[in-house]
Assembly symmetry: C2
Homo-oligomer: 354 residues x 2
């Protein structure tokens, strides 16, 4: 990289703890104490130091601190480079949670179009020097297991990772959302529920598929072949076209809202009414979900809760590797019933359409 950057001169260099110390008439060590909130500093000294720092525009140098302590106070998040609402609102929640506990966040995206993307993203984070890595939307890379030399936190299901420690935060048992969606549709009277799954390298997508299937089996319903989508409305639309041709389909559960909207688009085009002929449910409760036609029944997630619980868990561990075994984090999902679901058409109605 064609850097011209040469060594800084005495003049343009930012003020350091020594400059503040000189101005306040104390030692550099005392300045350090003040800025770390240590207790044994007299109120008078503290005030003088803070005043001097204010005057000089002093900021503690994070690099020096990191060099000395070996801790960067930075967490790395591996994201997937998608702008889908679910993942990106989770990132926002993570940043917010990190800031409140005084940690910085680095995000590295693993792009779908790059085969070695995951490992590369992790490497990038490790090169930056992070205290831990968070897999915000765990996926399988297909290839070798991920190797990380700092603790790892996974939100949701955990893929295979080689790391000194792997922590995991996931929804409490029983409160499973995909199962709830499936049950909701069955209770409305649908014989079975079709599923448009997310890409199966995503653990979240796998879980939804699994829970959907388990619920159908538990209810003694037939388990139709699921279709694998890629989270996009376009793929949902394609899948919807196929499903629209099958008059036996009366209920569809899409693994996210975008695919659900694509499905509805296809159903409309095929002249099938939603929810008159077919009920559709999405997942994520994206902002437009309430305003598409018909307003979409979906599942909203409390990402703030997930982020807070996850980060607290992780940072507690970093500060004290052996005390709390595992706080019971609960990730709240809520079924939001809107207008895209209803009872299945009666035999008469079906005949009328056919």
């Amino acid at each position: 990289m064609g850097d011209t950057g040469s060594k800084r001169t005495r003049q343009d260099r930012r003020p350091g703890g020594n400059d503040v110390a000189r101005l306040a008439g104390v030692s550099q060590k005392t300045v350090s104490r003040v800025f770390n909130g240590e207790s044994n500093v007299s109120a008078d000294t503290r005030d003088r130091v803070l005043a001097a720092a204010q005057t000089l525009g002093y900021r503690p140098n994070g690099a020096a601190r990191a060099l000395l302590t070996g801790r960067t106070h930075r967490l790395g998040v591996v994201a997937l480079g998608t702008s889908h609402f679910g993942p990106s609102s989770l990132l926002v929640a993570l940043e917010r949670a990190a800031r409140t506990i005084n940690y910085a966040l680095s995000i590295a995206n693993s792009f779908e179009d790059d085969p070695s993307g995951l490992a590369e993203a992790v490497d990038n984070l490790l090169a930056q020097g992070v205290d831990a890595v968070i897999l915000s939307e765990p996926v399988d890379d297909g290839d070798e297991p991920l190797v990380v030399d700092v603790p790892v936190l996974t939100l949701g299901a955990a893929p295979v990772v080689h790391a000194p420690t792997v922590l995991s935060v996931r929804a409490a048992e029983g409160g499973d959302a995909a199962a709830e969606v499936t049950r909701h549709l069955l209770e409305l009277g649908h014989r079975t529920v079709h599923h448009i799954a997310g890409p199966q390298r995503w653990w979240a997508a796998r879980e939804r598929l699994q829970n959907w299937q388990d619920t159908l089996i538990a209810a003694g319903a037939e388990v139709p072949q699921a279709v694998e989508g890629d989270w996009t409305a376009a793929r949902g639309y394609a899948a919807g076209k196929a499903l629209a041709r099958d008059p036996g389909v009366t209920a569809i559960f899409a693994a996210n809202d975008e695919m659900a909207i694509g499905v509805i688009h296809a159903l409309h085009e095929a002249g099938r009414s939603v929810p008159g002929d077919v009920s559709v449910v999405g997942f994520d409760d994206i902002p437009v979900a309430a305003h598409v036609w018909p307003p979409l029944t979906t599942v909203s997630s409390d990402n703030a809760e997930l982020a807070t619980v996850g980060l607290t868990y992780l940072v507690d561990f970093l500060n004290n590797p052996d005390s709390p075994p595992a706080p019971p984090p609960k990730h709240v999902h809520n079924l939001v019933v809107r207008a895209s679901t209803s009872r299945p058409p009666t035999a008469g109605e079906e005949a009328h359409r056919a």
Copy 2:
């Protein structure tokens, strides 16, 4: 913060340049040379160093490097904590662009609900030690101008910022998208175009409003009162309810897709057909835009281009503060015409509806 972290012992410390040097039988300085790609290193030595580094799992310590050079190779992005598609896909693009030029990205969100959010976010970035700050979606804070002690890059219009340098990247003149949208609707035969603006603290929203207005005036069309929204579908829906009552409204330009979708929702509920009675245009081309009913005419943006041009500009400046005056960056917007726009209803059709 209840840190237990004590000083690392010789054992658990990560390998450093000295360890690699010892193993490779060279000096630490030579290791440094190898990892910085300096030229005066023999191929043989380089290989031995790389092999030793590989064996030990050595990674250059960014904190030490930053401490010495005064450059962190990290850029700070101030985002707005929204999960809207436009902003978040821009962030993804920025991260990707930054990575290709070997920079790390820190994101700090400024939350709408926090009054001093902007300044706080910037402060957070400065405390982390960034080489520059990027305002990805410039807004006005209302309060005092922002004070930053590193160079600043703004994408789009530039608010008032006190910084050593303020660079700005914006769409090339003439290629304005909001004007194009307005012209598109006028050319279809609409007498005028109503506008649902974004929050006016966002410079992007102001620009769209301004360009819409200028275009109407240039065309000699009446300029209706614009409604100010907040980017959400809910607010678009509310605004749409009011507009639906006015039979004179035949064309609506919403400042983003979500509001457009809300508007369409309201129009549908009021029994007004889109685009039969009213044409609607959005902005951003969010993924579901092609799949809502009717598929939405909107404007897509090349965020990757914007991010690449902006970062290149910024980093060139950081490396050499006085060479290139200003590369001419062009930000490509594209009008995507779908099914939500058409000619206005004829007098007869209007009468029929009324």
